[in-house]
Symmetry: D2
């Protein structure tokens, strides 16, 4: 898909066979089709739009969201702390809007994604199609009944009651595999950590805080408003 | 490679043909060789060690470091903010210890890594070998003279004077490609942002703060000591 | 003055000789006058209001503000870091809305407050009267021309260009006196610190971040939104 | 008391009738006695020491500490959030090392301080004398048995089990009085907030984080290491 850029606005062209209408005039279908990345085309009102190819991240930023998603700052640490890579097999539960599963599918070998709610399941299905992802297996199942896969590298829990999944996760993780849980509140973290047994090593619990800055000539300062909290990440390793 | 786990200690076995000595006794080479992941073997003093296969992240945590590296919390956001994935072509400069390049090589299609200092170049070469990475091209070159590659997806700068690389980066980025700069100090960020011209869109500058918690029964609280700062991340996009 | 409390609302009664109207009905002047702290009086619609005496902080929270004021978290550290107390003589410049000066006047011996802008001067004058403060001397003067007082304990600068006041402050501080500057941006801090000479010891620059929590049964977590930044505090001491 | 300054070192002269020995030579008693604030005297090895009068904060920074004290960043917010001032009557329990009580005594009308442990009681007694404080009444009593004072403005709890003091505090606070609790862990905060009844309004719970910066020419950045956590502050108000 192509993106039309006008100043700091981005327009994703989902269908090149139609003219694209913006508040700054419309762009002709034929012009959009012809344009190569980096070229400029003009709207009927004479405004210049730069055309680029949509990257994965452009599409990812447009996926449909119903539930609160795990923000990029947290997803990033999950990847780097556990070393998710092209060879990794990952299970996630629940899928939510699919923001974690779809991102990881673009990085790792295979993602198995469990989602008990049918509305979320359908939402994620749509997002998978929109992103063109082939290596993500989405299941409309209750993860508490067990994961079908064995010997996986990483299991990521984004559930209100992650302590209920500890035994189930243990059965599906390889020795040395990682269990990651994301929870907004402290009592959830406490109950999850208490549910771990001696087959697990508790690595750490942390928050990731992203602090944005203004940098404009001499106006260089942290922004006045900030996201204060999303969730706590707990990292666990299965040892046998 | 195998890892021997004893309580919360981890021992990486680089050479299975030799006995492995620890402060809790030694493990016989033959026992190590035979052990399957999750099995327990005993040291000569009777201590039980669990054997697991080293994951990429286990090896990554053991790479040699001379310079200050970009921590995982920051590397994570670089990945998720720019959407680095299996199809991405990435340039990094300088390589430093190779902590960014080697991690990204396990995720993306190809990493081109520029390092002007010969000692760092050799260090990174060793780390690439140790990690068994095949898709990272390391060059002992001055990046200021230009990158050889064109139309790349992402360029990551970890240099004292990133503003010197803006023009060079522009020539090698595809339209829509990302330029990311990591700098410890505010004046570096200021000078870098001022060096950008209208072919770039400035997305954001931020810090990523990881706050670790103790979670042990009722002792649930942020840790007393914390990493206060590593560096500022600036995200830029080339638009034509 | 009295305060009427209804659930988590607070109504400050500025004139007891009149009935007090709220969206939950009105309270009769006679009832308000008679009520002792902790007593309950009823509105004409039968709602119960608790009457308490307004504390200084209740009035302080109601002072008129035009400029951005130094928040309590920052003002608190100014007090505890410099040890402002009943014997302290303090100069502040500029007064702004008087939020710093009036608070400190309730703690210390005497506050001299300089404000060049007449509109702010009049605003502060009103706030001083409203709070009934007697030991604060407000002057509609340009601080850059010099402070009239000598040998003061603490000088607090809240100005766009604090480096312009360094020499002036030196002349009015006692040996061992504190100079505190509050600035929103990093370049202001840089220029201020560079303007100091060897008659000053630079103690520290810091930010104070207040992170608010929700604590409601199991919903225990930092708030989603947070004040990200107000200003940087720099603490300096004059040594001769 | 006088302070001798040499570069960034501070020496507190507790007894002017004796020579003062430092690693940079000794200063003669007679020279110290004669010196006025801001004057320079020389050690026997020819080093120049600046003499200043010790401020309250200089002495405060030297009080003896056995327990963990409430840091200045937190004490500051207690003062500014509750509006402690010259007219305030404050109770604190427990006294610990007296760091809260002695500071507040220099600001407010009267501090009543309860400390059950005799060793701490004696420590605080020494600190009160050292600081020359006259308006602080220290009691070696169990606060759980009740405070002797009634109608006080502010009660500050720094105890492992603050929920045990809620009823006792209620009896001694005036209507509209503030109850402040300082606790290192989240479960303490949870239990404290749950112990409050409808005679209290829960204002807020927060953490105060002080982030220190390096500012040295172009090396302008947050410090690498930071205090991650001291305690949570909860602010409550009694309404009848």
């Amino acid at each position: 898909m192509k993106i039309l850029l006008f100043k700091d606005r981005k327009y994703l062209v989902r269908d090149e066979s139609k003219d694209y209408h913006t508040q700054f005039g419309f762009l002709k279908s034929a012009d959009i089709k012809k344009a190569k990345p980096g070229e400029v085309i003009k709207s009927n009102t004479g405004k210049s739009f730069i055309v680029i190819d949509a990257d994965f991240i452009d599409l990812y930023n447009k996926i449909k969201r119903q539930a609160q998603i795990i923000p990029k700052k947290d997803l990033g640490l999950i990847i780097t702390e556990t070393g998710i890579n092209k060879d990794s097999i990952v299970i996630e539960s629940g899928a939510g809007s699919g923001a974690v599963g779809t991102f990881l599918a673009k990085i790792c070998k295979k993602v198995y994604s469990y989602e008990i709610r049918e509305d979320f399941y359908n939402l994620v299905k749509g997002n998978i199609e929109f992103l063109g992802i082939k290596n993500m297996k989405l299941k409309n199942k209750d993860a508490k009944l067990g994961f079908d896969e064995k010997n996986v590298d990483i299991i990521i829990l984004d559930l209100p009651d992650p302590w209920e999944l500890v035994e189930v996760a243990k059965k599906s993780l390889k020795p040395g595999g990682f269990l990651v849980s994301y929870s907004p509140t402290v009592p959830q973290v406490m109950d999850f950590i208490e549910a771990l047994d001696k087959d697990f090593v508790y690595l750490k619990t942390c928050e990731v805080i992203e602090r944005q800055w203004e940098v404009k000539l001499r106006k260089v300062r942290p922004r006045s408003q900030q996201i204060g909290h999303s969730g706590f990440l707990s990292f666990i390793r299965k040892i046998n």
